[in-house]
């Protein structure tokens, strides 16, 4: 069963952060205990999306070995209706921290991988969390590959952009397959997604080009763009089709329908 989920993509701007936040929030709405981590150290974004306050420890500190995971986790449970816990581990958005993280060597990355792997026991087994969601950097970044190695399931966000299609299919073959990772594809920003013909085309594309199960097709919603990433969409728009798509995705993950 998939307990640790890494949301990744080949290119930037495919909707990883939107998917990560809303996947985690949907699980929490369903009564699950969830931890959401920002592993995009080059361009931290959860800090702004969730309007977190200052004076906290960051995930950077945990990976540096200077602070325990308990001090990193910020409790956002109050912001999500439902009985599940919703905790978030943020990446440090300061320029100094971004510069520091981009200059880490291979030995540091190796220790960071072991600290990420340790989260399975610390959070899932000891603290009773049901799911861990990693929001990652696009492409072949150390932090992203560390997250992929740690995860049980990689949710791959992609668009219909030609370079994205090429890069994503190569990444699926040469990265996820080498690590023998279970993957689920989310095709985002799809035009005319309401038509059955378009949906069938997407399923066919997932099967032939990407050769991975399709987790969801997300139409290009103006309402999502209008939100400017400033709130948790599934909480604020419970009846929106986007929220329903997210509920279906979490159902598929819970029911292990991605084999």
């Amino acid at each position: 069963m998939s307990k640790i989920i890494a949301v990744h993509s080949y290119k930037g701007g495919t909707g990883k952060t939107l998917l990560s936040v809303n996947l985690a929030a949907t699980f929490a709405q369903k009564g699950k205990n969830v931890c959401l981590f920002d592993l995009d150290f080059r361009a931290p974004s959860l800090f702004a999306t969730l309007k977190a306050g200052d004076g906290i420890c960051y995930l950077n500190d945990y990976l540096n070995g200077t602070c325990e995971i308990d001090k990193v986790l910020v409790d956002f449970s109050g912001q999500i209706p439902g009985s599940g816990k919703f905790f978030v581990g943020l990446a440090n958005p300061s320029t100094e921290a971004i510069r520091d993280m981009s200059a880490k060597d291979r030995k540091w990355e190796m220790r960071a991988l072991s600290r990420l792997l340790a989260l399975r026991n610390a959070l899932l087994n000891e603290k009773g969390f049901d799911y861990i969601v990693f929001d990652t950097s696009p492409g072949l970044q150390y932090s992203s590959i560390n997250a992929i190695v740690t995860a049980d399931l990689v949710v791959v966000a992609t668009t219909s952009d030609r370079s994205d299609v090429d890069g994503t299919s190569r990444m699926l073959r040469e990265l996820y397959n080498l690590f023998e990772k279970k993957s689920g594809l989310v095709i985002n920003k799809v035009l005319d997604a309401a038509s059955k013909a378009k949906r069938d085309e997407m399923y066919e594309k997932a099967k032939t080009i990407y050769q991975v199960p399709l987790l969801g097709v997300v139409p290009c919603f103006c309402e999502v763009l209008r939100a400017e990433g400033s709130f948790i969409f599934v909480r604020d728009k419970p009846d929106h089709p986007f929220t329903k798509i997210l509920h279906e995705m979490t159902r598929k993950i819970e029911a292990n329908e991605l084999n």
Partner: protein, 153 residues
């Protein structure tokens, strides 16, 4: 007269048979009877332990021969990071990833997770030790493998 023998299957290429005989010279016979009579299990354990040490050494030698580096010494402290994992051949990556997840494990424990034979995992683990990615530590009969994260600065 007591005859004890152990067969240890090293891998698909090698098989070694070791026989511990008692001898018919009077002095040796008495010593063996004493040892085997009082502590036969202990003696067998000792034989097994020595055979396993021999097994490990032979696996290392086989790996060195395969790569044509007969006088090669283990490399020191090569980090086992994700980019290294990506560049490894498939068979070694599986073993290396499993040890990353477990932290510290025996060949037996790794083989339970990879569903490959213990001897195969033992050979791959020893190869990773030679390549400098893993460290090996003996505790009694067991050999533990681990990536030495703390001593790498």
């Amino acid at each position: 007269m007591n005859n004890y023998y152990c067969v240890v299957r090293l891998n698909k290429y090698t098989k070694v048979t070791s026989t511990a005989y008692t001898h018919n010279t009077r002095g040796t016979l008495l010593n063996n009877e004493e040892a085997l009579g009082k502590k036969p299990l202990h003696v067998l354990e000792k034989i097994r332990e020595n055979l396993e040490r021999l097994n490990d050494k032979m696996e290392v030698m086989i790996e060195l021969q395969k790569h044509g580096k007969k006088d090669a010494q283990p490399l020191s402290d090569a980090p086992l990071d994700v980019m290294t994992l990506l560049s490894m051949p498939d068979h070694l990556r599986k073993t290396a990833m499993t040890i990353c997840r477990c932290g510290r494990a025996t060949a037996e424990e790794i083989s339970e997770q990879t569903s490959r034979a213990r001897a195969v995992e033992s050979a791959y683990l020893n190869q990773l030790v030679i390549m400098g990615y893993l460290k090996k530590e003996r505790k009694g009969r067991k050999a533990y493998f681990y990536a030495d994260r703390d001593n790498q600065t």
